[in-house]
């Protein structure tokens, strides 16, 4: 479903030498997989997520998402693809302030051609166990609840892949466990998840762990504890 071939992404900051945030990465992720991309800060994993999430374009290399080569698509096509195929979960939740949980969840449906935004929103909120908080404003919720609302928003349009960038980074350990459990449940239901983290414990929830450092893949192995040796 996701195929990256020899992707390079370089950043220049002022007069400093260019930084290769993604250094000739090739990567394939299948539908239904739960993949963790593990790396320390500055390893280029956020850039990798931006490219995977069609927020940023690679300088070179190919990226095929669901059979479509995306490097040559225009901004509007990329927006439509993001809406249809990608659900984002961010470290800082990025919920709209002074806006209710359900309205936050429905946000991607504003840009989708769907009329069933009510039932879809409710279903997504139910999937993260927050139906009873539907009319609470985002700022009235705890960090863990806010992140669950953000996950509901990410899955509301039934995307091909859920991209989570340090989803537990702002949470205490018990809330973090809750969030990881939500991901596990979603995975069990068949959602493809790419989880980007620097935290080995969080990465341990995934069935496949890709380690990145300095923009390159160091290791790409199955998580025996989760997969149980069978794939």
């Amino acid at each position: 479903m996701i195929e990256m071939n020899d992707v390079v992404k370089t950043y220049r900051k002022g007069n400093e030498p260019p930084i290769k945030a993604i250094d000739h990465v090739s990567l394939a992720i299948d539908s239904g997989e739960f993949v963790a991309i593990l790396g320390p800060s500055g390893s280029g994993k956020s850039t990798l997520m931006n490219v995977l999430g069609l927020l940023d374009r690679p300088d070179s290399g190919e990226y095929v998402l669901n059979g479509r080569a995306v490097e040559k698509l225009g901004a509007d096509d990329l927006a439509a693809l993001r809406n249809r195929h990608i659900g984002f979960v961010f470290q800082s939740y990025h919920l709209l302030p002074r806006t209710t949980a359900i309205e936050n969840v429905q946000l991607p449906l504003l840009y989708a051609k769907r009329s069933d935004f009510k039932t879809r929103g409710e279903a997504a909120l139910a999937a993260v166990g927050l139906s009873d908080r539907r009319n609470h404003l985002a700022e009235e919720l705890s960090g863990g609840q806010q992140q669950r609302v953000a996950i509901a928003r990410a899955i509301v349009n039934e995307p091909s892949v859920l991209l989570a960038d340090e989803p537990t980074g702002n949470l205490d350990s018990s809330s973090a466990r809750e969030i990881v459990d939500v991901f596990r449940e979603l995975h069990a239901k068949g959602t493809t998840i790419v989880l980007i983290t620097h935290d080995r414990d969080v990465a341990a929830a995934a069935e496949r762990v890709i380690q990145v450092r300095d923009g390159a893949i160091q290791a790409d192995e199955l998580n025996a504890a989760v997969v149980g040796g069978v794939r």
């Binding site: 927020l55 901004a75 927006a79 809406n83 990025h94 002074r98 806006t99 991607p108 504003l110 935004f117």
Partner: protein
């Protein structure tokens, strides 16, 4: 985009950020309020004056006034003599004419007395000055020729002097001279200065000039030319006759003024010219300021909404979707604020008119639909223009950068 969801999104955003919404709309409300209020009043006053002038001064008539030049005062009241008028009337074969001559006198009937305005007219006042008797009779040619002590009284005067009886056929005293009341005038209402035109006593001008005032001149006379196209020719002919009779040489100041409807309307329009420039100027200023306020608030707002814009882009908003949303937000504010302005203006007019305008004989101010549409359209255009740059800037934000903020 999903229309219903977009609508819900905008409404809830504007509601949750009430302070910002109100602040953005305030200028527009004030602009629309001021524009509609002033323009409605200006148009109503114009209509009122135009109607009054048309009624009091038909286009096929000429008024010859004693005294010339713009600064002529009461000392020049005696320049137009009755034989001047007679010469003009016969030279131009004018069939209908009526003097304009007024004075104030003590009037009595029984125990009731009043200081009343006395107007001298001929029997032709009926056609020339649209006077008519509602009860009894108007002045007759015999009344005028015979310098009879006959009066036709206004409805207000009738009520003051004859509170419990029909005045027709009764007697009243003007300066202790007895007058027979021949009739009661049809109501005329207030004039443009708010004076009650029904508080008047009409007597034959001959009686008034010879018996009450003892003068042989009239301040003014209205001549019915009968044909608008002949008015300019008649005007120069009258000027020629009067200059000759008054021995006024080339280049000397006339001691009389010949007025036509055209001249009066010109004078009126000139005095209204200020208002004509003033109202659009106020409107333009108000809308310019509103536009700048919207521009500024939107710019600030977009800075604080950068992360929201990044998020919207991440979940699939195209540049156009963001522009549409921001434009609709501002459009909704501008429309709502403009409608509020129109409502406030109508409420203001309803309370203001009885207080101020009734003195001018204006009972209600009509708010023209076209004016309302124009004001609301101007408001929306203002909002959209103010929102243009900020919305474009917002839509062009790079999602990665925007999400980081």
């Amino acid at each position: 985009m999903s229309g219903r969801l977009l609508f819900a999104t905008i409404v809830s955003r504007l509601w949750r950020f009430k302070a910002k919404t109100i602040f953005m709309g305030l200028g527009i409300t004030i602009g629309v309020l001021a524009t509609v209020l002033l323009q409605s009043v200006a148009m109503t006053v114009t209509q009122r004056f135009t109607r009054f002038i048309k009624q009091a001064f038909p286009a096929d008539s000429i008024v010859v006034m004693s005294g010339g030049g713009p600064m002529s005062g009461p000392e020049n009241r005696d320049k137009l003599r009755l034989d001047d008028v007679n010469t003009i009337v016969s030279a131009l074969s004018i069939r209908e004419w009526d003097p304009v001559i007024v004075t104030r006198r003590d009037v009595k009937h029984g125990a009731n007395n009043v200081r009343a305005l006395i107007e001298g007219h001929s029997e032709q006042g009926e056609t020339v000055h649209q006077l008519s008797a509602e009860e009894g009779d108007f002045l007759t040619a015999e009344d005028v020729r015979g310098r009879r002590n006959v009066a036709v009284i206004g409805a207000t005067t009738a009520k003051t002097l004859f509170p419990n009886e029909s005045p027709v056929g009764s007697e009243l005293y003007i300066d202790d001279a007895p007058f027979r009341v021949a009739g009661v005038l049809a109501k005329r209402g207030l004039d443009v200065h708010g004076r009650d035109q029904d508080d008047v006593i009409v007597v034959p001008y001959t009686t008034q000039m010879e018996k009450l005032m003892r003068v042989n001149f009239v301040p003014a006379v209205m001549l019915k030319i009968g044909d608008v196209s002949r008015v300019p020719g008649a005007k120069s002919e009258i000027e020629r006759i009067l200059r000759e009779r008054h021995h006024i040489g080339e280049g000397e100041q006339d001691d009389f003024t010949v007025m036509t409807t055209e001249v009066v309307m010109q004078m009126f329009n000139r005095s209204l010219g200020t208002m004509r420039i003033f109202v659009p100027l106020i409107a333009a200023t108000a809308f310019l300021i509103s536009g700048l306020v919207i521009l500024t608030i939107m710019n600030l707002s977009i800075r604080s909404r950068t992360s929201e814009i990044g998020l919207r882009k991440a979940v699939g908003a195209r540049d156009r979707d963001l522009r549409v949303q921001l434009f609709l937000e501002v459009g909704a504010i501008a429309t709502g604020a403009a409608i509020l302005g129109v409502i406030l203006a109508s409420v203001g007019l309803r309370t203001l008119v009885p207080m101020l305008m009734s003195r001018m004989g204006i009972q209600s101010v009509h708010v023209p639909v076209t004016l309302v549409i124009a004001a609301v359209a101007a408001a929306v255009i203002t909002g959209v223009l103010g929102a243009m740059l900020p919305a474009r800037r917002a839509a062009r934000l790079d999602p990665v950068q925007a999400l980081r903020s």
